[in-house]
């Protein structure tokens, strides 16, 4: 609270958990803080924390043992050697009256550290008791304490300290107690949040039911769990209290000369700044390092607490190193068909999972001709969306294309410059996603967002962009384009938001639209409308659509061709009619049988037995073999290639000729 920075820290840390990683990170949001002893041990595994602790212990020991440790009496004048720099006799030099600076620092620590300790103890008691009471008892206790906290947090703390000092004639003990009380509300707020989280756990309820008195529950079961946050806040505040103490001493409060204090020494140094600027260093650095040590210790404890709760302090943007997989060679006879707009060949993608790069998309082939709608069907987690992201060059941080080529209109995007792909985005390839409202920026109006993309792709004046924007909004069948343009995303229904997202995607007149589960989050009636709209736009604009979905109804009504994905692979590719009439992969058969669209009344829906294996746990041969009724020994032997079940009908199944066995009830 004393300096700008510590006020900021004070205010932004404990007082305002919303804006503070400190308060949040200490487990307010239901994370379970680890017990104190283990936290300490983990924190002390860090060299910086150990150095900090050693430094602080040294300071305290030196202050306590000052008469034995200090080389000189702090009041000993030596007028023959005033303002001397560091020397063998006076390690840190002498001040304006020839007194030994090191000795004065050591003695000064007695006053400063004691004051900080008084403040910190008050802070600890008031904050912990208040926060625990509010969080544990809830009800009116909570309301009363929270009310007081809300008011106290808004008080300009330093000025109240000045009031206290004015009233009590500069009594530092009272001022330090006041400091602890003034700073405690922020702490109490953090404690309350943490206690609430612990209290919500079943074992507390169990303890209460078994008749344990509340006091025992708090002491034995709650406090040990919230030690981490307590230590963090306490450590940070100790540093702040030292700064306030020195600051007040600098302003002339507290122990008066010749008693040495750290703040007082800085004042004395400032008066002889012109003759001996060095004198500013020892007291300032000792104080600064002490505050720094407390902050580092607090950070170490916080990180130790967070580590267990699985939060990471800073997202690494760098991908873990991987052994580069040999790119899969394109077999002969697999040359690009001249008309294909988008053509994926043997594309493999890996993502970092727990630090190890794991293949999530394996050897995917996919074609989208200009103007056609192609479905990409599969359960969630099979790699559909990540494949789409790869086409747009928008893989998540750390993900890599480990093999294959993505041809778009004759350009291989896997070897293209990021700039090249960026130029394609919006103008050649566009995208809409599953959650339409989240896809829109909540703080800009619809008109602003659409016209930004319009101007980006077509340039022109604001007025022209506005006209074009309204046309686009009308084009996606929004009834009142003017009103929609001035609305914000939260004012739209899901269907309207998806239309707006479509308008944004169409702003650059793309040749290919990737629609990633565009209807999944919508009401059934709205789903049909959006699908019809997509089909109309696709026809009118001659645009190709890659439709990612898990819904056969969507595939059946909107797509020309379909690809079924399972566990990272495309397992079947053909036109939609053949897919429904004669599926040639056991997984496709299973999927179709488990869809209500295919079911006749009184017939049970069938589910595919078993579960999709996680990436990294895929079988060596056919990924579907463990769940497949047709599986034979050869299925697990080696990776399965694509076979032609019929002309232009590919399946990744060795036994597709026996598929009829599955159709039988």
């Amino acid at each position: 609270m004393t300096t700008t920075t510590s006020t900021t820290r004070q205010a932004t840390d404990p007082a305002n958990p919303e804006t503070s990683r400190a308060a949040d990170g200490t487990g307010g949001g239901g994370a379970s803080p680890r017990s104190g002893r283990r936290t300490w041990r983990a924190a002390l595994g860090r060299p910086l924390a150990v150095v900090s602790l050693v430094y602080l212990v040294l300071l305290v020991v030196a202050a306590i043992a000052a008469p034995a440790v200090a080389p000189f009496d702090p009041a000993d004048l030596d007028l023959d050697s005033v303002l001397a720099g560091p020397s063998a006799e006076h390690l840190l030099g002498t001040d304006a009256l020839g007194r030994d600076v090191l000795s004065r620092l050591i003695y000064g620590g007695r006053v400063s550290l004691l004051n900080a300790a008084i403040a910190a103890l008050t802070f600890l008691v008031v904050g912990v008791v208040g926060g625990l009471a509010a969080g544990f008892y809830r009800g009116w206790v909570d309301r009363a304490i929270t009310g007081v906290v809300d008011i106290m947090i808004a008080i300009p703390g330093l000025i109240i300290l000045l009031v206290v000092l004015a009233v009590f004639g500069g009594n530092m003990t009272v001022a330090m107690v006041a400091l602890g009380v003034l700073a405690a509300p922020g702490f109490a707020r953090v404690m309350r949040a943490v206690t609430l989280a612990v209290r919500a756990e079943p074992y507390i309820a169990a303890a209460q039911v078994s008749g344990l008195p509340n006091r025992r529950i708090i002491v034995h079961h709650v406090i040990p769990r919230v030690t981490g946050p307590i230590l963090v806040q306490f450590s940070l505040f100790c540093g702040a209290a030292l700064l306030v103490d020195a600051g007040l001493a600098y302003l002339g409060f507290g122990a008066q000369p010749p008693t040495p204090t750290w703040g007082g020494m800085i004042v004395e140094a400032s008066t002889v700044m012109q003759q001996q600027p060095w004198l500013l260093v020892p007291a300032g650095a000792t104080l600064g390092l002490a505050t720094l040590a407390f902050a580092l210790l607090g950070d170490a404890v916080r990180d130790a607490t967070e580590e267990r709760t699985g939060r990471t302090a800073f997202r690494s943007r760098r991908a873990p190193a991987v052994a580069n997989r040999e790119p899969v060679s394109v077999p002969a006879g697999d040359e690009p068909t001249p008309t294909a707009l988008l053509r994926l060949r043997h594309v493999s993608i890996a993502l970092p999972v727990n630090g190890a790069l794991t293949t999530v998309v394996d050897d995917v082939n996919l074609d989208v001709e200009a103007g056609e709608t192609v479905g990409l069907v599969g359960e969630s987690g099979c790699g559909k969306s990540i494949t789409a992201s790869a086409v747009l060059g928008l893989l998540p941080a750390g993900a890599q294309i480990t093999g294959g080529q993505i041809w778009f209109d004759g350009t291989d995007l896997t070897s293209a410059q990021p700039r090249t792909i960026q130029k394609l985005r919006g103008s050649r390839i566009a995208m809409i996603a599953q959650d339409p409202i989240a896809s829109l920026d909540p703080v800009f109006s619809v008109g602003q967002q659409v016209s930004e993309l319009v101007r980006r792709h077509h340039g022109g004046s604001r007025a022209a962009a506005r006209t074009h924007t309204l046309e686009l909004l009308a084009n996606v069948s929004l009834r009142d384009p003017d009103r929609v343009a001035s609305s914000y995303p939260h004012e739209l229904s899901g269907g309207m938001a998806q239309r707006v997202a479509l308008a944004m995607a169409l702003a650059g007149d793309p040749d290919l639209l990737i629609a990633d589960e565009p209807t999944t989050a919508l009401d059934v009636t709205v789903q049909a409308e959006i699908l019809e709209l997509l089909q109309r736009l696709q026809r009118e604009r001659g645009m190709a659509v890659l439709l990612i979905t898990h819904d056969w109804g969507v595939v059946g009504s909107a797509c020309h061709r379909a690809n079924v994905m399972y566990a990272g692979q495309v397992v079947e590719t053909c036109d939609v009619a053949s897919m429904f009439r004669s599926p040639s992969h056991p997984y496709t058969v299973g999927l179709l049988q488990s869809t209500p669209h295919q079911a006749t009344p009184l017939e049970h829906l069938r589910a595919v037995p078993g579960a999709v294996p996680a990436p990294g746990a895929w079988p060596a041969g056919c990924h579907f073999a463990p769940r497949c009724a047709l599986a034979a020994a050869d299925c697990g032997a080696a990776p399965i290639g694509l076979a032609e079940a019929a002309p232009k009908h590919l399946t990744r199944c060795l036994h597709h000729d026996q598929i009829a066995r599955l159709e039988a009830p």
Partner: protein
């Protein structure tokens, strides 16, 4: 929005009332009273230079013989009308003393906040986008900035730029109306100190909220549909990250009033913080009380402005 503001105003009124009452009660706990201060002896046992009658008479004149709550009521009714009383030490009108010094502090704090915010947002955004080394530098600077006492930093700057290099005036304040250049020069070092102490912490918070904003679905969609990276970072993500940042601006602004207390004393700027310290040292309670009320008002107004800015930034708050 309207309801939010009225609720805030109601809480603010309570806050002002509670704080002024609190300081008033604190004052009554003090050994000695204003009458003693005026008559000449601080805590007063040794060498009294006035008689008991003089003392009692003055107490009566000042209304100190009345019950505490009556005294508070008297103070409150005139304070509402803008009369914060008279300093028993200097004999000056408290309201006048505060209003003559407020512009100095406001110059310092407003410039300090502005500069801190500009440097902090710039560094924060760039380190969110670039990450890596710059991010770690920001972390270290933020740690140092909050660990080093700002009056000490101020002294170091003074020793370097004013005393050694002679580039800028070491102390003193020139009013803007007298000489804009002198005004600017007199504020460079104080403002720089505030920025050095606070900007990195600001940058760190900005970086955190930028990183969150950049993971928003809409950022991905804008990117997929061809929005420029500059627009995504500086327009969309920053605007979404702005709400915590604006909270931070408000907190920094309020916090700098505490910081200003030290900075004004180091650079001998005749601001409200210096007034408060002098008053506290001289046991001049009416002035201290006046400063408390003035600063509480500043806090309230700032929070109100922050709330209004939320409304501007967040359409969900604006429209019911």
């Amino acid at each position: 929005m309207f309801r939010l503001i009225t609720r805030r105003l109601a809480i603010s009124a309570v806050l002002l009332f509670v704080i002024s009452l609190l300081t008033f009660i604190l004052q009554s706990l003090a050994p000695g009273d204003v009458a003693e201060t005026i008559l000449g002896s601080g805590s007063g046992s040794v060498g009294r230079s006035y008689s008991e009658e003089q003392y009692q008479q003055l107490r009566q004149e000042l209304g100190l013989d009345q019950p505490l709550l009556v005294q508070y009521w008297n103070w409150l009714t005139s304070a509402v009308l803008g009369d914060l009383g008279t300093s028993p030490v200097s004999g000056l009108d408290v309201t006048a003393a505060i209003s003559s010094r407020l512009p100095v502090t406001l110059s310092l704090v407003a410039l300090g906040t502005l500069a801190t915010a500009i440097v902090g947002v710039g560094l924060g955004v760039v380190s969110a986008v670039r990450g890596g080394r710059l991010g770690r530098v920001v972390d270290v600077l933020s740690l140092l900035g909050s660990a080093l006492p700002n009056f000490w930093l101020a002294l170091l700057f003074m020793a370097l730029f004013a005393v050694t290099l002679g580039l800028l005036p070491a102390t003193g304040f020139v009013s803007f109306t007298d000489s804009p250049q002198g005004w600017a020069e007199s504020l460079v070092l104080p403002v720089t100190t505030l920025v050095v102490a606070g900007a990195a912490t600001f940058a760190k918070q900005t970086r955190d909220s930028m990183l969150t904003a950049l993971t928003h679905d809409s950022v991905r969609m804008l990117r997929a549909n061809g929005a420029s990276e500059a627009s995504i970072v500086w327009r969309h993500a920053l605007r979404n990250a702005a709400i915590p940042v604006v909270t931070l601006v408000g907190l920094v602004f309020i916090g700098l009033f505490s910081g200003a207390v030290f900075i004004e004393n180091v650079f001998a700027l005749p601001g409200i913080g210096r007034l408060a310290v002098q008053a506290a040292n001289q046991h001049d309670l009416p002035v201290v009380q006046g400063v408390v009320v003035a600063l509480t008002l500043v806090v309230i107004v700032t929070n109100l402005l922050v709330d209004l800015t939320y409304g501007w930034l967040n359409p969900k708050v604006r429209t019911p």
